[in-house]
């Protein structure tokens, strides 16, 4: 009952901000200049039983209607801003963590900002450099939110220098912070843009930024008992685990070179089987741009860089840092079926991208020109050598293994080579044609051991839009995935009709026609329609969702196959 009272109170504050406060504000001179803004989203699904994909009434367990929703309101006056977000999971959608069940206000803050200082008390999201040391962010579609609650201070003491300090605890579902049930995160970041600091460099062609961060996580408990191998190990635990490093960004005309290095001291956790090895991470990106051509080359080295504010959890929560995948993110259904997710315990990757435009009336470009994008990425494991003859690699309570920088392992985790051609055909037609070749090491990426092997697949996609009139257009998508492993070949087709600016309707089907088991040659059909009015959008869809992995950045969420009617409402003001 107390919880209901608390939530009623908080909800009332929210509604108060929107209705009674504005009336009050406009009448008061001092509070003139106030602004109120916010946004909301609600995803509700009515699940239907579907024998073919193994969902029966008992699986649904009576909870056939589920909903994830949030409403956020922000108030600002002069240099002050304050806001809160109300979230409701009644109960959470299938594929989202069951521990999210409930309603509450997990996010609120007060902020003061002027030219020199920016102070936030409450929840905040922050990123240091590339993110290998600290990144707190929110991704609603993933159910990911590792916001820090505490204090953040940003200073710009001189032009070109930005200093940031953070101190707080991270969000863990609805669990209040008490008795050190998670770590306290402290961090400091400094960023120097030399061209603004040194007047001699103000107009130089070479632009250089340097930065450094230091993050530390305090977790109580200097020993930990772990039962393994028929014994109880009393492990010594480091109460302060630090993760620090530096970065630079060099820009000369069309060339840009960015690199970041992070070093993490001993951090024995359930994720790395309690080894005491240090962690190292390097990321570098070299790119060249000119009109009509863009090239970028990236490389990445991750060695034991998982960093959480709780040693014992192994799910996707309480990550302090962010280790994104170096591979290209694909949005077409079949191209993203086998998606890579970063292996924090060790991986080495490279990725190259070239995008260029063949102008109109050139030999290959044709009458309307053509854009070609090439991408290649590969991720391997790292070479782990045993520390001595008697201790196996990754043995609990030891240094774990030895490796040297860039000693890339032989095992291929993922490979992706693709080409994408965008072309217009006259005034009414345009198309995007993509071909991909992917190699997916299912055992490593999904955490099995030696039973699924590697999946080699070829994918072809044609995405064509026909602009019938100024406001009506029809889009067709045809996709095919060809592989001899896993579930075999797939085909997918989509037709989408839009009437600008308000309506759309689409039909999509994904068909696993190549499955070796005829019973499993399922079709995943989906019918959607929606209405859009300025910032409000309502969409309704009905059909089967294929099981899969939704990845945004390097964070993935496994979604089981479902069948149902989905209503999505979003709006902002």
């Amino acid at each position: 009952m107390n919880l209901l009272k608390k939530n009623t109170y908080l909800f009332s504050c929210l509604v108060f901000f929107l209705f009674l406060l504005p009336v009050f504000l406009q009448a008061q001179d001092i509070l003139k200049g106030s602004e109120v803004h916010g946004s909301m989203q609600a995803d509700a699904i009515y699940y239907l039983p579907d024998d073919k994909i193994g969902i029966t009434d008992s699986t649904l367990d009576g909870k056939t209607i589920r909903m994830n929703g949030f409403t956020e309101v922000n108030y600002s006056l002069g240099n002050f801003t304050a806001g809160l977000r109300f979230e409701a999971y009644l109960p959470p959608l299938i594929g989202y963590d069951a521990q999210l069940n409930g309603v509450g206000v997990p996010y609120f803050y007060v902020n003061y900002k002027n030219d020199f200082i920016d102070v936030t008390a409450g929840n905040f999201y922050e990123q240091f450099g590339y993110g290998m040391m600290l990144r707190t962010y929110q991704e609603w579609t993933l159910g990911y939110d590792n916001s820090l609650r505490g204090l953040r201070i940003k200073l710009t003491p001189w032009k070109g220098i930005t200093l940031k300090g953070v101190y707080g605890v991270q969000r863990y579902y609805w669990e209040p912070y008490k008795d050190y049930n998670r770590g306290i995160v402290k961090g400091f970041d400094a960023d120097f843009y030399l061209n603004d600091i040194f007047s001699s460099m103000n107009d130089a062609k070479v632009k250089l930024t340097l930065g450094g961060s230091f993050v530390s996580d305090y977790q109580q408990g200097s020993t930990k008992e772990v039962a393994q191998n028929g014994k109880i190990y009393l492990l010594k635990m480091p109460v302060n685990v630090a993760n620090y490093g530096g970065r630079f960004n060099l820009n000369i005309g069309g060339f840009n070179w960015f690199a970041e290095y992070a070093h993490k001291i001993n951090d024995p956790t359930a994720m790395n089987n309690y080894i005491y090895k240090n962690g190292n991470g390097i990321f570098t990106n070299l790119s060249y741009s000119q009109k009509g051509l863009g090239i970028s080359l990236m490389s990445k080295w991750i060695d034991n860089m998982g960093y959480k504010s709780n040693r014992t959890i192994t799910n996707n929560m309480l990550n302090i840092n962010y280790l994104p995948s170096i591979t290209k993110e694909h949005t077409y259904a079949l191209a993203s079926m086998y998606s890579y997710s970063t292996q924090a315990n060790g991986e080495a990757g490279v990725s190259g991208n070239v995008t260029f435009h063949l102008p109109k009336n050139s030999k290959l470009g044709g009458k309307t020109g053509m854009t070609i994008a090439l991408n290649f990425s590969q991720v391997n494991g790292i070479n782990k050598k045993a520390i001595n003859d008697t201790v196996p690699v990754d043995e609990l309570g030891t240094l774990g293994y030895a490796t040297s920088l860039f000693s890339v392992g032989k095992e291929v985790y993922y490979q992706d080579a693709n080409i994408e051609i965008t072309k217009k055909f006259g005034k009414k037609w345009k198309g995007i044609f993509t071909y991909l070749y992917q190699t997916y090491n299912k055992d490593v990426i999904e955490g099995h051991a030696h039973d699924y092997g590697t999946i080699y697949s070829q994918i072809g996609i044609a995405d064509v839009t026909w602009k019938i009139t100024g406001k009506n257009s029809l889009r067709f998508e045809l996709q095919g995935l060809w592989t001899k492993q896993d579930k075999g070949n797939w085909a997918a087709a989509l037709i989408e009709y839009t009437v600008a600016p308000h309506w759309f309707i689409s039909v999509m089907d994904q068909w696993n026609y190549g499955n070796t088991d005829p019973e499993q040659q399922l079709q995943y059909y989906l019918l959607s329609a929606g209405y859009n009015y300025n910032t409000t959008r309502v969409a309704l869809s009905w059909g089967r969702q294929r099981e899969g992995v939704i990845c945004v950045g390097g964070v993935c969420r496994y979604v089981p196959a479902t069948n149902g009617v989905t209503l999505t409402v979003t709006s902002s003001f």
Binding site: D51, G54, T59, D61, D97, A98, Q99, F116, I153, L155, P157, W158, L163, G165, Y167, K178, D179, Y180, N181, K186, F188, F214, S216, Y218, K224, E225, V226, A227, Q228, N229, G230, K231, I232, Y233, L234, L235, K236, M237, P238, V239, N240, V241, A242, I265, N266, P268, A270, R311, T312, I313, T314, G397, T398, E446, G447, H448, A449, H450, D451, Y452
Partner: protein
């Protein structure tokens, strides 16, 4: 002045970060000596699991590990309950068609204050360890260590008489309290069955296969002889108070249960907080 102010703030930040590095030197661990002490409190470790729970085999191994070390001072109950324990006869070649759930297990799983919201998760004597009443298997060793050091609250004796012809079990459970205990005390008598073979999904790296067709389930909770929360045996009991309870169970009602694999686990607990004070176990068939 402003520059001084700015510099001071700069150093304030860095000051926060002093002592923010703890480097551990060899040796990284010591092996804890475990003494199974029957003159101290018995510990009940409940492992909430399910055959579709891919992360559960390592938790079961941890429980077995601890059982081997604490011997007769520790009793493990494997509670199959929740969505991951549901029988599934369609997927995975039908290896998950067994239903290892029990009414008592379902009630314990659904009890709000236990916060059983994912698998695997466990409880040790249903008391809080590091502020949580239920916690992941990495914490079980520490929690069992704490509970096993507490003073003994009672002596429980379980006497089983099994009539092979009628397949009827008569169990007599005697309790003698060694200290005063406030509140209502319940006695719960559960049937556990060992050596059940069934399918189990398994997905932890380092394990050998993705699903195990003939996985050995031990100490599976089959049911309670006297209700999910047991039967009241005393209120505000004093030292040397004794009680005696008898229950009869006909194995013909559950033909799938094999009597010689079954045992009776009796434990006393606080009826309101659910804290377990002591336990004892005896096989059905000697």
């Amino acid at each position: 002045m402003k520059i001084l102010y700015k510099t001071a703030l700069f150093f304030l930040f860095t000051a926060i970060l002093f002592q923010s590095c703890t480097k551990i030197e060899e040796p990284y661990y010591t092996i804890k000596s475990v003494y199974a002490d029957t003159n101290r409190r018995a510990v009940v470790l409940e492992d909430y699991t399910g055959h579709s729970c891919t992360n559960c085999p390592p938790a079961a191994r941890t429980a077995q590990n601890l059982q081997a070390l604490y011997k007769c001072q520790l009793f493990v109950i494997s509670v199959h309950a929740g969505p991951f324990a549901r029988p599934d006869s369609i997927n995975y070649e039908g290896i998950l068609k067994e239903d290892l759930r029990s009414p008592a297990g379902n009630d314990w799983f659904a009890w709000q204050s236990f916060h059983i919201d994912h698998n695997p998760i466990g409880m040790v004597n249903r008391t809080a360890y590091k502020s949580n009443i239920s916690f992941d298997y990495d914490e079980w060793a520490g929690a069992v260590g704490v509970s096993a050091g507490l003073p003994k609250t009672a002596i429980i004796s379980v006497n089983n008489r099994f009539d092979a012809a009628s397949k009827t079990l008569t169990t007599t459970i005697g309790t003698r309290f060694l200290m005063d205990l406030p509140g209502k005390i319940n006695l719960c008598a559960c049937i556990l069955e060992d050596s059940i073979y069934g399918g189990q999904l398994n997905s932890k790296p380092g394990d050998s296969i993705p699903y195990i067709k003939h996985y050995l389930f031990m100490e599976v909770l089959r049911g309670s002889l006297n209700g999910s929360w047991g039967e009241l045996i005393g209120t505000d009991v004093t030292v040397n108070a004794t009680t005696c309870k008898s229950y009869v169970f006909d194995f013909n009602n559950q033909p799938a249960w094999i009597p010689k694999h079954c045992s009776i686990l009796a434990f006393i607990m606080d009826a309101d907080t659910k804290e377990i004070y002591h336990a004892a176990k005896m096989e059905v068939v000697k």
